[in-house]
């Protein structure tokens, strides 16, 4: 269960999530302090540690559109946020899966700031309003990366398989 700490509209770009002027900061250990940097109140709450891990952001369609910058994902993951959106832009979705940011696609989701929500299997439940919303499953191909714990362990495993295959030839 997590509390909705931020409610956003459609087409939230990676420029809003992680402004371009902080792009010289690349390491996942350093990016979280610039999450939503131009939304000074929310950024202040995040960086002051006032947003507990597991808190949720609820957004409209096409969350994460625009730049491919991976900082937009690592910055949110650093605060252990869950993003529930009507839909996600492709590169953001893929980056989230690769890095293990928790994202949920729920096309009909309705929630207000402060609502408590939980994700139960293929349903998101707004515990405050009592409504539940179906979750769109990720394609199986992407699920394999999540199951492996992200793209780095997934690729590492493939690399080792490839090398051992090479040495047997």
């Amino acid at each position: 269960m997590g509390k909705v700490v931020l409610k956003l509209e459609d087409d939230i770009s990676t420029d809003v999530i992680y402004p371009g002027r902080y792009m010289a900061t690349v390491l996942p250990s350093e990016t979280p302090r610039f999450a939503f940097a131009d939304m000074t109140d929310f950024n202040g709450a995040l960086t002051a540690g006032r947003v507990p891990p597991g808190s949720m952001i609820v957004a409209g369609k096409n969350f994460g559109c625009g730049s491919s910058r991976e900082q937009a994902v690592s910055a949110l993951k650093g605060h252990e946020l869950t993003i529930v959106a009507h839909s996600f832009a492709r590169i953001f979705l893929q980056n989230a899966i690769n890095l293990g940011l928790r994202i949920v696609t729920a096309p009909g989701i309705e929630a207000a700031g402060g609502d408590e929500m939980s994700v139960r299997g293929e349903t998101v439940v707004n515990e405050t309003s009592g409504a539940s919303y179906p979750v769109v499953k990720l394609p199986q191909a992407r699920q394999a990366i999540i199951d492996a714990g992200g793209l780095i362990p997934f690729t590492r495993k493939r690399l080792l398989q490839k090398k051992s295959g090479d040495s047997h030839n």
Partner: protein, 430 residues
Amino acid sequence: MGMTVVEKILARASGRAGVRAGDVVEPAVDLAMSHENAALVINQFLEIYGGTALEPLVWDPSRVAIIFDHRVPAESAKTASNHKRVREFVAKHAISKFHDIRGDTGGICHQVLPESGYVRPGSVVVGTDSHTTSHGALGAFAFGIGATEMASVWALGAALNVEVPGTIRVEVTGDFPPFVGPKDLILHLIGRISAQGANFKVIEFHGKTIDTMSTSGRLVLCNMAVEAGATSGIVPADGETARYLREEAGVEGPQPATAADPDASYEQIVSIDVSSLVPQVACPHTVDNVKPVTEVAGTKVDQVVIGSCTNGRLDDLEVAAGILRGRKVARGTRMLIFPASGKIYAQALRKGLIADFMAAGAVVMNPGCGPCLGVHEGALGDNETALSTTNRNFKGRMGNSSASVYLCSPAVAAASALDGVITDPRKGRD
């Protein structure tokens, strides 16, 4: 059932006789491009190899391209140190397609790649930049990925778990009226299908207007396909592609042409006649908030920008110079011009365009991404308005979240710089 161009490319690259939208494939990568964010790719790449006892070597250094363009020359010690780290990696791994901060071979990645002959028809191109879609202009399947995914490509030479995208076919007919061109066409298309209208899909461009369009114009279309959410844009390679590669990129020999099958399956077909198109402007703060210039004419602009991976090419600069020549940028309006590459800068210099710009009062900057994403030069002040030939107008895009950004063609940008307000370039001038 036949295949679309991208289905054919992905079938070839994954060693299969045929693929369909929705199949999951692992295409071999022909070209893997990064810019400054190679610093993060290196970090993730080394992490993949952590604890494996394998030596971290990129799968094929000749297929890796790194182009510095986002912050050139470095604006801070932090960026300079990232640049330095990437240079050391490039040297150690013998990466040959490396374009450092130079006046001759440097520039914006999405111009340097095609003009250097790195992009070939039918190839698979990935880049850690969302505008990697640009390279579909040469008949390649080119798409943006994140840094960790690029690290995986560097290790394995393939893109893992790629879902074959469905395709939207866009049929374009008619001749462009004066002062209307490819930028107006793509803005119109994005306005029509929305910023999410092509999410997870490819936009395949066809029609007489595309057949007669230069590669430079096709780059504009494919560049901004991502602003409709597309995985990629593509123009099937043809005689113009071969001409561009031969004459402008120095690539000799015949080029493979991959055409869509006549019975290929499309998810949607969009037809556009450009003969009645008027100049288009994307208004704050989304790229699909597109209006005819006539509806926003008169809006005061503090800064006009011409350049970027979208519209910083020689033909763009020629259009702008034609409007600016012998005239003055309005007092109270700043005009910045960023040629897309050193090569284009030199061509513009020889043609006298740079002199035209300077005489008009514009500031000509070195090639780079600069003001487009607010990382370097040309930041906006509080509540200011910019009119730009770049590709995004999201809140905060140009470095200030209280500023507004309008997007347009080079013709609209140049005409507006003269009047200090958004101006229809079709209006007569003395």
